[in-house]
Symmetry: C2
Subunit: 369 residues, 2 copies
């Protein structure tokens, strides 16, 4: 269904490959000042457990630079230091060594300073994300083009050119707006004019439910067009939610799989059981599963048997009991009060078996038929 993935250069953030057919890498960001070293590390560890592969950390001051050292030594994930306003801090972070930095030409402002940062990053082998935001464009671009995709792309291309002038090509680019149309247009436009890998995101997407949906629309459209090499879903909420949202988007498109996909009916007048609390409990109890699996919980016989049969484990509800399917095979009838217990049990049994394929749930570049 999705178009052939756009050909890009390959770069790395630590050992994580980005672009050129690598699986779309999942990122998140810590939510506290790095002076809270233990909280920062806990957020990184929890995000990593949920499948996060790269973590970004804001570095707003000298104290953050110091703390970043210790965080980096103990982090299970490669880190991207997020730098704004202060070129001196960027140079300090690069000097101390880090996997990657993110710079925003709109907040660094000085072309001379930006060049110095690229030079230092080149010398130290530090990957750079050129991170453009519609909300913080450099004044000349905003004056010339307005807060438009064209302004974002012009700003990004100029920054990339500056990096290339000093020989630095370990770059990725993001072009985020807080609305989907500008975000999609900016990435489409840039991807026609450059082959650097792209970090996708809709910025300031908002609280989890609406923000997850907004991000899914924007990132979904782009990924389905083959655009995007790494993604971050920005939500006002826990990094783990951002990571889960990212995998839900990638799985919906068949790009990556991780964890349990719950196929549950919306319930209606045909449903004889109180399905909603059961599904929420199931979601909670299966949240720790990494292995990609499909679990169907269906309230009636309209689509129930069809969906339950296609799932790894499924229940198709009937009048006063449900039929349990495992890998398409009818196993037995069970009463509703035992559905959740049994589904969890069967999923855990499946997970205990060795997986059939060893690719860690990554699918390669997909092509249209």
């Amino acid at each position: 269904m999705i178009r052939r993935r756009r050909r890009t250069r390959r770069i790395y953030v630590g050992s994580v490959p980005i672009g050129d057919g690598a699986p779309v890498a999942v990122q998140s960001m810590t939510k506290v000042h790095p002076r809270h070293i233990a909280i920062t590390l806990r957020q990184i560890e929890e995000a990593a457990k949920a499948g996060c592969e790269i973590m970004r950390v804001a570095v707003p001051d000298d104290e953050a630079v110091q703390c970043l050292q210790e965080i980096r030594e103990r982090s299970p994930l490669p880190l991207v230091a997020d730098l704004h306003f202060n070129p001196r801090l960027a140079l300090m972070v690069v000097e101390k060594g880090i996997e990657a930095i993110r710079v925003n030409p709109g907040t660094i402002r000085s072309r001379k300073r930006l060049r110095e940062i690229f030079e230092a990053a080149k010398e130290k082998g530090v990957t750079v994300r050129v991170g453009i935001n519609a909300g913080s464009l450099p004044r000349p671009y905003e004056e010339r083009f307005g807060r438009t995709p064209e302004a974002m792309v012009a700003c990004a291309l100029d920054a990339v050119e500056l990096a290339e002038e000093v020989g630095h090509r370990e770059l990725k680019v993001s072009l985020k707006a807080s609305d989907v149309p500008r975000t999609v247009e900016a990435y489409r436009l840039f991807s026609r004019r450059s082959d650097y890998p792209l970090h996708l995101g809709v910025t300031e997407a908002g609280p989890p439910f609406s923000g997850g949906i907004k991000s899914a629309v924007g990132l979904g459209i782009l990924l389905a067009e083959g655009i995007g090499d790494t993604i971050r879903v920005s939500l006002t909420g826990d990094p783990v939610l951002e990571v889960r949202a990212a995998y839900h988007i990638l799985r919906a498109l068949g790009l990556r799989e991780r964890g349990v996909d719950i196929i549950s009916c919306p319930t209606c007048g045909r449903c004889e059981v109180d399905l909603e609390p059961m599904v929420l409990e199931l979601e909670r109890r299966l949240a720790h599963i990494d292995r990609p699996l499909t679990v169907a919980v269906m309230g009636c016989v309209v689509n129930g048997p069809g969906e339950a049969k296609e799932a790894d484990v499924g229940i198709a509800g009937g009048k006063s009991s449900g039929v349990l399917f495992i890998k398409g095979r009818v196993v037995e009838k069970i009463p509703p009060e035992k559905w959740i217990e049994r589904l969890v049990e069967e999923v855990e049994r499946l997970v205990a078996e060795p997986p059939l394929s060893g690719n860690g749930g990554c699918t390669g570049p997909a092509e249209e038929p």
Copy 2:
């Protein structure tokens, strides 16, 4: 950003226009047996208040047919009776008069019965949704094509042809699978072969967070391609959540607007306030607002001033206070503990003013530049 909307015929469900440039209509479904008349009506009323325009009600038995009469008399929205398995019930519902019915050729099974239903619907002026589901395909189609988009489309086209044979053309079509790739392919394929309006949905999408994201990816891709005339987001949860999710998707694409769009930063080490609970409180307290408005709550000065300036009402946080923007104008500095109170107050003040445009938040067909 989105392609010119696909040209379709125009049909109506009650007074709600569908297709041919009408705003994408938002639907949901009641979640209890119609014998629970009061609960059914409450669900319809709450969904209507959230912006729902058409409500579907399952009709699984004779009792449901009887109750539907009373529900219909008191419903603020036009209703679609959802019928499976029993052609006799379908004929009874049509006979008593209803805005629309949904039939699934995979559960009605008999071609003769399906024709009788179309005939009766034609005679009574009842709109019909031909609702195909990958999980309940008629056996011949499944045997010939598997559970594929091709099978879904072939089944839909045959049913439409049958309706046309008896002269019924007040039809819309849905082609739902529980996964995005099949859903998207089925709608794309059908839309190239028929000009009937399309009811979009990803079926059995699951619990609200993951189901909202999965639906947003599938419906977002299709709507951005100009495909889709009415949508329903199937979630295991309250109909109001389905309606909110639908508007979040439509707004993300600039197709329709309703209610408050919260632009809030994901927070990071730069954020000096505990933004997450504030944003959740704001979301809750502004949930009743219908008027399309943008409210930005930003934790720091990176994108804060830019986003707050673009929003109808916005706060850009700083060290120990935030700058309040109204319609792009700086108003004053306010301390974090007063942000929410003040934002709610300003939104309510804006809503009390008469709106600038009188189109009810509907935008016409969008075109690519």
